[in-house]
C-alpha cells in the first residue's frame, strides 16, 4: 500500500505488511532467499541459518528479522552465498545423505538448495553417524539418516495437528528427532498420514511407504527448474 512500507532486497523494492519478516515479504513478492527450516505456513524458527541476509549491513536470519521501512537488505551476494554453501556442507556431513538411493532425490529441498548454491562437494570430513530407520508404522517410514533438525514436523504436529508426535532430544551434535512413544517407534504414536506433519519434511525423513521412486526422473519437483524458480505452493502470487 503506502510507499514507506517497503525495503530493498538486492536493489529491488519489496513491499511488506506490518509484522512480516524479510523472507515472508520477499517470498510474497516472488523473490527467493535460500531457506530450509522456514516454511511460510509455520511460525519462523531461525535454526538453519540458510536465510541469513545483511540487513542494513548487519547479518541476521531473514526468517526472524522483521521488515523495517527503508531497510537495505542484501542476499544474493558472494559473501553470503559462500557462507550458505558452508552451512549446507555442514548439514551434509552431519547426517548420511546418500542422494543416489534416496527416494526424495529430485524433490528434496536440501539437495535443490545445494544445487542452487553450486555445492560441489561436502568439503568437510563426513561424520557418518549411525541412525537406524524406524519402519514400524504401517504406512510411513522414518529415515533419521537424513534429518536436518529443522523441526518442521515438530511444529506441524504440535501447532497444526495438536498431537506432539515429534520432538527433539539430545544436545549439540547429538541432537536428534524422537517420537512420542515409550517404545520410540512411530507405530506406537497417534501419527497418521493425514497429519500435516506427514507432509512437511523438506528432506527424506518422513516418507510414505511403498511409493518410493514412483515419479520418474524428469518429472520431479526440481528437475525442470531450480528451486529459486520454484515458488512455494502456499505463497500468494506464486
Amino acid at each position: 500500500m503506502s510507499q514507506d512500507k517497503s525495503f530493498t532486497l538486492d536493489g529491488k523494492t519489496v513491499p511488506y505488511q506490518e509484522g512480516q519478516t524479510i523472507i515472508q515479504a520477499a517470498m510474497a513478492a516472488g523473490h527467493y532467499i535460500p531457506h530450509l527450516c522456514f516454511n511460510p505456513e509455520f511460525k519462523p524458527h531461525g535454526s538453519c541459518k540458510l536465510c541469513t541476509v545483511k540487513a542494513n549491513g548487519r547479518q541476521t536470519a531473514s526468517c526472524t528479522q522483521q521488515a523495517q521501512p527503508g531497510m537495505v537488505v542484501e542476499s544474493d551476494i558472494n559473501e553470503l552465498n559462500d557462507e550458505r554453501r558452508v552451512l549446507l556442507q555442514m548439514l551434509f556431513v552431519e547426517g548420511n545423505h546418500f542422494c543416489p538411493s534416496c527416494e526424495k532425490s529430485g524433490n528434496c529441498q536440501l539437495q535443490a538448495t545445494a544445487y542452487e548454491l553450486d555445492m560441489m562437494s561436502p568439503h568437510f570430513d563426513q561424520f557418518f553417524p549411525d541412525r537406524p530407520v524406524d519402519a514400524s508404522h504401517a504406512e510411513y517410514l522414518l529415515d533419521f539418516n537424513r534429518c536436518i533438525l529443522c523441526s518442521l514436523c515438530v511444529r506441524a504436529s504440535r501447532d497444526v495437528d495438536g498431537k506432539n508426535v515429534f520432538a527433539l532430544s539430545g544436545r549439540g551434535i547429538k541432537s536428534h528427532l524422537i517420537v512420542n512413544a515409550k517404545s520410540g517407534h512411530l507405530a506406537d504414536t497417534d501419527f497418521s498420514g493425514s497429519d500435516k506433519a506427514a507432509h512437511v519434511c523438506p528432506v527424506g525423513v518422513i516418507l510414505k511407504k511403498r511409493v518410493g521412486f514412483s515419479v520418474p526422473i524428469g518429472q520431479r519437483t526440481f528437475d525442470a527448474q531450480p528451486i529459486s524458480a520454484t515458488p512455494h505452493p502456499k505463497v500468494k502470487g506464486a
Binding site: P44, G46, S47, C48, K49, L50, T52, Q59, A61, T64, E83, V86, L87, M90, L91, V93, E94, F124, D125, F127, I148, L149, N164, V165, F166, A167, L168, S169, G170, R171, G172, I173, K174, S175, I178, V179, N180, A181, K182
Partner: protein, 603 residues
C-alpha cells in the same frame, strides 16, 4: 494404563509432584529431583510424569535428553564427573581420572559391569581455585590428590553412602584474597530494603541509574535501563531472575557470593522486584552448585521469618515477593538469559529468537529482569550508599568494582575485588603470578591477553569480563588451552542452529587433527574460515564466542599452532594404518601389504 511398574515410580514421584503442584513449568526441577531419588530417569517415570503433568512424553524425553546431568539410562550408583577445565588439566585431572578408572576397573564414559559407578568428565565445575575437582552424584569434591582419589575409590567399593563420606572432602573454601566495597561490606539484612522504603521505588531506580551500574554477566548492559524497561512493560505479572548459572570456565565468584553474601544478592532481587513490580523471583543455580542448595534455602527461610520475603515485606502492605530456587542440570548455554528462561519454564535450554527481549517477553512471556548474582549484590550496595557514591568508584564508563576469579599459575588463586580499571599486571602481581605467558580473561568466550598487553585494564571499555582470570605461565601450551575451550563449546552447544551445532564439532575435530600431528597449513586456513562463519551466522553468543579462544591464540601465539603444522601438504585427519587394523585382526595378516605408512611428505 497404570502398570505396577509405573506405580513403583509413583511412590517417589508423587511427593515431588505435590511439592511442585503438578506445575509443568517445573519439569526440569521435577526430573532433577526424580533422578536424585532413582539415580536416573526411568522410561516408566516419564510415562507417569506425562500423565500427571499432561505433557507429551516426547517433550519430557526431549528435556531430559538436553541436560548433561540428567540420565535416561542407568549411570551407576556413583556417578563421578571430573571437572575438565584447562585449570583442572594443568593440575593433573586426567592422570587422576585414569588412576581412578584403573583402581575401579572401569572405562571412562562407561558404566561398570556391576552397575556400581561411572566415571566421565564434565565442564568446569567452578572450583578452579581449589582443583582438581569432581562431582559425585552432583556433589562437589575439591583438591583432589592421588591419596584422596584412592580414598574415594575405597568408599565407592564399600558402597558407603555419600552422607557418610569424610566431611573435609566437601569443604569448599571461599579463598577471598582482596576485598573492596562488596566483599568488604558489613551488610545487614534488610538495610537496603529500609533504604528503599525511605527513598521510594522511583528514586531507588534513579539511584541505580545514577550509579551507572552495568550487568556483571559480561555483556555490561545498563542495569537501571533494564529495570526501567521491565517496569514500563505491560504484563499481568513481572519477574525477577537471578542468573547464578555460572558456567563460564574459570569463574567461581558467584559460588562465593552465594555462600557468604546471599543476603545481599536476595535483597538486590527484592529491590528489583519492588522497582519492576514483581511478586515472584527465581534464583537459577547451576547444577554444579547443588551443594549450596540447603544453605540457600535456609537463608531464604530466615529472610521470610525476618519478613524480608513473603507477603507485606517489612510490613509494607502490597509488597509481596518471594524467591524460588531452580537448579540447572549441566548446560552452559543456560547462562544465556533467554535460554535460562526456557530452562526455568521446564524446557530445553535453547536461546530464543531476539527481539523480543526478556524485559518485555521473558518468563512465561511476561516482562522479566535477568541479572547476574554480582549485579544484584551491587544493587543492594547502591540502595544503601547511593548511586553517586557508586559512580565515583571505578572508571568513567565502568563504575564500581569487579570481582575476579583468579586461577591457574599463581601462588594465591581465589577472589580479588578491584575497582574497575585495574591493570592485568597489578592483578598478576597481587596473586603471585610469575613469568606469566598469558591471561584468559572472562573464560572460554573471553579474551586471551598476552604479556605485552598486561598494562590493559579490566573495564568494559578495555577488557570486559564476567570475572574469570586464568593465568598461564611460560610452560603452558596455548594451543592446548584453546583446544580445551573448543571442546568445551562443542560439548555445550545446544544444537539449535546449524553453524554452532556442526561448526563447533568440526572445529574440535580440526584442533584434534593438529594435536594429533596431522596438521598442515591447509587445516590452519580451514580453522580460520570456520571461525569466521561461526562468528557471523550463529544464533547466540555461544556460537559467536566459540571461535574467540582460537582466533585470539592464533593472533597472539601463532608459533603454538605452527609447531603443529607438521606437514607441508594436506594429510588425512585419521591414521591410515590404524584404519587397517580391524582387517589385520580379522585376517591374521601382518605382512608389509597389510600396512599403510603415513603420507609421503615430499612434494
Amino acid at each position: 494404563m497404570m502398570t505396577s511398574q509405573t506405580n513403583v515410580h509413583a511412590e517417589y514421584l508423587n511427593p515431588i509432584l505435590a511439592r511442585r503442584q503438578h506445575n509443568p513449568n517445573d519439569l526440569l526441577q521435577i526430573l532433577r529431583e526424580a533422578q536424585e531419588q532413582h539415580g536416573y530417569i526411568h522410561t516408566d517415570a516419564i510415562d507417569y510424569l506425562s500423565l500427571e503433568l499432561k505433557l507429551p512424553r516426547a517433550k519430557i524425553e526431549g528435556v531430559a535428553g538436553f541436560y548433561s546431568f540428567l540420565y535416561l539410562q542407568p549411570r551407576g550408583e556413583y556417578r563421578v564427573l571430573f571437572s575438565d577445565n584447562i585449570t583442572d588439566r594443568m593440575l593433573g585431572n586426567m592422570e587422576l581420572l585414569e588412576n581412578m578408572c584403573a583402581q575401579l576397573w572401569v572405562e571412562p564414559g562407561k558404566v561398570s559391569e556391576d552397575g556400581l559407578l561411572s566415571i566421565e568428565t564434565t565442564s568446569c565445575t567452578g572450583l578452579c581455585d581449589q582443583g582438581p575437582a569432581l562431582l559425585v552424584n552432583n556433589i562437589a569434591i575439591n583438591r583432589l590428590t592421588p591419596a584422596r582419589v584412592s580414598s574415594i575409590c575405597e568408599l565407592i567399593r564399600e558402597r558407603v553412602p555419600l552422607s557418610a563420606w569424610p566431611q573435609e572432602f566437601f569443604a569448599i573454601e571461599d579463598n577471598i584474597r582482596r576485598k573492596d566495597i562488596l566483599l568488604g561490606s558489613d551488610f545487614k539484612s534488610g538495610a537496603a530494603l529500609s533504604a528503599l522504603f525511605q527513598r521510594g521505588a522511583d528514586a531507588t531506580l534513579q539511584e541505580i541509574k545514577t550509579s551507572k551500574l552495568r550487568g556483571r554477566g559480561g555483556a555490561g548492559f545498563s542495569t537501571g535501563m533494564k529495570w526501567e524497561f521491565c517496569r514500563n512493560a505491560a504484563g499481568d505479572a513481572h519477574y525477577v531472575v537471578c542468573n547464578a548459572d555460572e558456567g563460564e570456565p574459570g569463574t567461581f565468584k558467584d559460588r562465593v557470593l552465594l555462600n557468604g553474601y546471599a543476603d545481599m544478592v536476595f535483597e538486590g532481587m527484592t529491590l528489583c522486584a519492588r522497582v519492576v513490580g514483581a511478586k515472584q523471583g527465581f534464583l537459577y543455580l547451576r547444577g554444579e552448585y547443588r551443594y549450596l542448595l540447603d544453605h540457600l534455602q535456609a537463608v531464604l527461610q530466615r529472610r521470610r521469618q525476618q519478613t524480608l520475603l513473603g507477603t507485606s515485606i517489612l510490613g509494607e502492605a502490597g509488597f509481596d515477593f518471594d524467591i524460588e530456587i531452580h537448579l540447572g542440570a549441566g548446560a552452559y548455554v543456560c547462562g544465556e538469559e533467554s535460554a535460562l528462561i526456557e530452562s526455568l519454564e521446564g524446557k530445553r535450554g535453547t536461546p530464543r529468537n531476539r527481539p523480543p527481549f526478556p524485559v518485555t517477553n521473558g518468563y512465561l512471556d511476561r516482562p522479566t529482569v535477568v541479572n547476574n548474582v554480582e549485579t544484584f549484590a551491587s544493587a543492594s550496595l547502591i540502595a544503601l550508599n547511593g548511586g553517586a557514591w557508586y559512580a565515583g568508584i571505578g572508571t568513567e564508563t565502568s563504575s564500581g568494582t569487579k570481582i575476579l576469579s583468579v586461577s591457574g599459575d599463581c601462588e594465591r588463586p581465589g577472589l580479588y575485588e578491584y575497582p574497575f580499571g585495574v591493570t592485568v599486571a597489578q592483578v598478576l602481581a597481587e596473586c603471585g603470578a610469575r613469568d606469566t605467558q598469558a591471561v584468559q580473561v572472562s573464560g572460554a568466550s573471553g579474551v586471551c591477553v598476552s604479556a605485552d598487553e598486561f598494562e590493559r585494564r579490566i573495564a568494559f571499555e578495555d577488557i570486559p569480563t564476567a570475572g574469570a582470570f586464568m593465568v598461564f605461565g611460560q610452560q603452558r601450551d596455548m594451543f592446548e588451552v584453546a583446544r580445551n575451550f573448543v571442546h568445551f563449546f562443542a560439548h555445550e552447544s545446544c544444537g539449535f542452529c546449524t553453524p554452532c551445532r556442526v561448526g563447533t564439532s568440526l572445529l574440535s575435530n580440526m584442533m584434534d587433527k593438529l594435536a594429533n600431528g596431522h596438521g598442515s597449513p591447509y587445516d590452519f586456513a580451514e580453522i580460520e574460515k570456520l571461525n569466521g562463519l561461526l562468528q557471523s551466522t550463529s544464533h547466540c553468543g555461544l556460537g559467536h564466542a566459540a571461535c574467540n579462544p582460537v582466533l585470539d591464540t592464533i593472533a597472539k601465539f601463532r608459533p603454538a599452532y605452527e609447531k603443529r603444522l607438521a606437514h607441508k601438504d594436506f594429510v588425512p585427519a585419521f591414521d591410515l594404518d590404524a584404519a587397517l587394523s580391524q582387517a589385520r585382526q580379522m585376517t591374521g595378516r601382518d605382512d608389509t601389504g597389510a600396512h599403510l605408512e603415513r603420507s609421503h611428505e615430499s612434494r
